[in-house]
């Protein structure tokens, strides 16, 4: 089957982000950028399907600035066969992203669209579900295990009550959670090979989709700070502090 994977360029998960003093956003100057970790899990899933012979072709897609080509090259180094880069310097919110992905889905007709359950920058957790809705396809979010069987997939999902298993007809949208797999380390020969793989670049306008009305971010602030704490010497001191506060 054909598998499409959507990946996003985000601030690396190890970076401690700084809010700009004027409240206009988060400081991204000189900050390390990476592929969204949940999307790496989606990439790994796709490539494992290719290794197992379940997938014949893996297409990586990103929506983002020119520099997001770095993340597409990583996706190609994972093992994607080719990539699509929808280039834009604007901030693309989830509904518009979903409209773009739905359009590409209709064009490419994959059996499954894989993407991370959320991007660790805006933490929206929306794009996969929205894409499935627009295409009137099944969605299996927060996947921790996926089993393909002909035109169906059984997906185990991480939910608040534990695990839930659902069955979906293909094509479907699947969003990946932490414990689906452990993404591989990219090896130098694969990174070199990825440089020669094709990337099809286009603009949002090229796709002829209607952009969704934007939610307007008017201010970005640091989170409320907690009062600094104290270190205690031993258990007795800790227990007396807890008693003072009425916690025990």
């Amino acid at each position: 089957m054909k598998v499409m994977v959507s990946v996003k360029r985000v601030v690396d998960y190890n970076v401690r982000i700084q809010v700009k003093g004027d409240g206009s956003g988060v400081n991204l100057d000189g900050v390390k950028m990476s592929m969204n970790p949940f999307d790496e899990i989606a990439m790994e899933q796709a490539v494992q399907m290719k290794d197992a012979g379940t997938a014949e072709e893996v297409i990586a897609v990103t929506i983002g600035p020119a520099k997001a080509e770095e993340q597409l090259r990583s996706a190609l180094a994972f093992g994607a066969d080719r990539a699509i880069h929808v280039k834009t310097d604007e901030e693309i919110q989830p509904l518009t992203a979903a409209r773009i992905l739905a359009k590409l889905f209709e064009k490419e007709q994959p059996k499954v669209l894989l993407t991370g359950k959320q991007a660790i920058d805006d933490d929206a957790n929306q794009t996969g579900q929205m894409t499935a809705a627009l295409l009137d396809l099944p969605q299996a979010t927060f996947a921790s295990a996926i089993e393909f069987d002909g035109d169906k997939a059984k997906v185990t999902r991480e939910v608040d009550s534990g695990l839930e298993t659902i069955e979906v007809d293909l094509p479907a949208v699947i969003t990946t959670d932490l414990r689906l797999n452990e993404p591989r380390y990219l090896k130098l020969p694969d990174i070199m090979k990825a440089k020669k793989k094709p990337i099809d670049a286009m603009s949002v306008e090229d796709l002829g989709i209607e952009e969704a009305v934007k939610l307007n971010v008017t201010k970005t602030a640091p989170p409320p700070e907690r009062e600094p704490g104290v270190m205690v010497e031993d258990v007795n001191e800790l227990v007396s502090k807890m008693k003072d506060k009425g916690l025990v």
């Binding site: 979010t141 608040d160 009550s161 979906v168 414990r179 907690r226 258990v235």
Partner: protein, 315 residues
């Protein structure tokens, strides 16, 4: 004029506590009405929702397809209900139920969505966390569109019981797909412990606990203190405990009065889940562990020595 519709979180026929938290969030909109939509196959969830103070009316849709909360099945019904009564706001909790469902609802309505409302500034202005809670943005939604959002449960207390809203059986004109089917659920057996998402006290363990067997010491202390048990991602990844115990950016976001953690270093992704806790107490062998930067009380020590001492001191 705000007419709010809240989608109730129902699991195995029972109304979940997150619904009453969403009602509190809705009150901050100074609404004209707050209706709750209960989609279920049977059971008492609609009656339970009618008892939440501040609820104007409960709309109950009982049909066999609603036995399990599949987003693909629920979304067309929520959309039909939202349109039928011209709601201005459609809210769900930010539990996995709401995270799965609400974006699908928003897309079908053709509107953007606000994830994780943590504060309401006005009918169309909200605050929400980004970057694992390391920044908070103020977001304005267009006033001429229905607003779809999920409510960050840890930011709102549950509305009290004491209401007596009318329950109206609703019939909806919605075609339901058959492409998504429930197979099974694994809730890890029943437990008498308090629910992690709503518990007043939470004891949690991380990589430092070392093994599944060693986690018994955490459970034992929790039982002594009447606390729920949580865990860091590392502890879940290592197979010490199941995934539903994970606290953090991508797990559960909680706001207990007391959060006490053992052997958790305090990655920013974990801290995102506990920032609203009343008092944070951290016990860790490593005095450099970042958890001590946010803890109200920190103790450097070996958890396997500290816990027995604690149990003794607490009697």
């Amino acid at each position: 004029m705000s007419k709010v519709l809240i989608v109730a979180d129902v699991f195995e026929g029972e109304l979940q506590g997150s619904t009453a938290r969403a009602v509190t969030c809705a009150q901050d909109l100074s609404p004209d009405s707050v209706d709750v939509l209960v989609l279920s196959a049977s059971g008492s969830a609609a009656e339970a929702a009618a008892k939440i103070e501040g609820v104007t009316k409960v709309l109950s849709v009982e049909r066999a397809e609603n036995e399990h909360p599949l987003a693909a099945t629920f979304a067309p019904q929520v959309v039909a209900a939202a349109k039928q009564n011209d709601y201005t706001h459609v809210l769900g909790p930010n539990t996995t139920f709401g995270k799965d469902l609400m974006p699908r609802v928003a897309a079908l309505l053709g509107v953007g969505m606000i994830t994780d409302i943590m504060a309401v500034n006005g009918p169309h202005e909200f605050e929400r966390p980004i970057y694992a809670g390391n920044a908070v943005v103020t977001v304005e939604a267009p006033g001429d569109q229905v607003l779809v959002a999920s409510v960050r449960c840890a930011s709102f207390d549950a509305a009290a019981d004491g209401g007596s809203a009318e329950v109206e059986a609703l019939s909806l004109d919605a075609e339901l797909p058959s492409h998504t089917r429930f197979v099974s659920a694994d809730t890890g057996g029943s437990s008498d412990r308090p629910d992690l998402a709503s518990a007043g006290k939470v004891i949690s363990g991380g990589r430092g606990v070392g093994s599944k067997e060693n986690f018994d010491i955490i459970f034992s202390l929790a039982d002594k203190m009447g606390a729920a048990v949580g865990a860091s991602r590392a502890a879940v990844d290592s197979g010490f405990v199941p995934n539903d115990m994970q606290v953090g950016q991508t797990g559960k976001i909680i706001a207990p009065e007391l959060y006490m953690c053992f052997g958790i270093s305090g990655a920013i992704q974990h801290l995102a889940g506990i920032k609203d806790a009343g008092t944070i107490i951290a016990i860790n062998k490593d005095e450099e562990a970042p958890i001590f930067e946010v803890a109200d009380y920190g103790l450097v020590g070996d958890l396997f020595k500290v816990i027995p001492e604690l149990e003794e001191a607490l009697g």
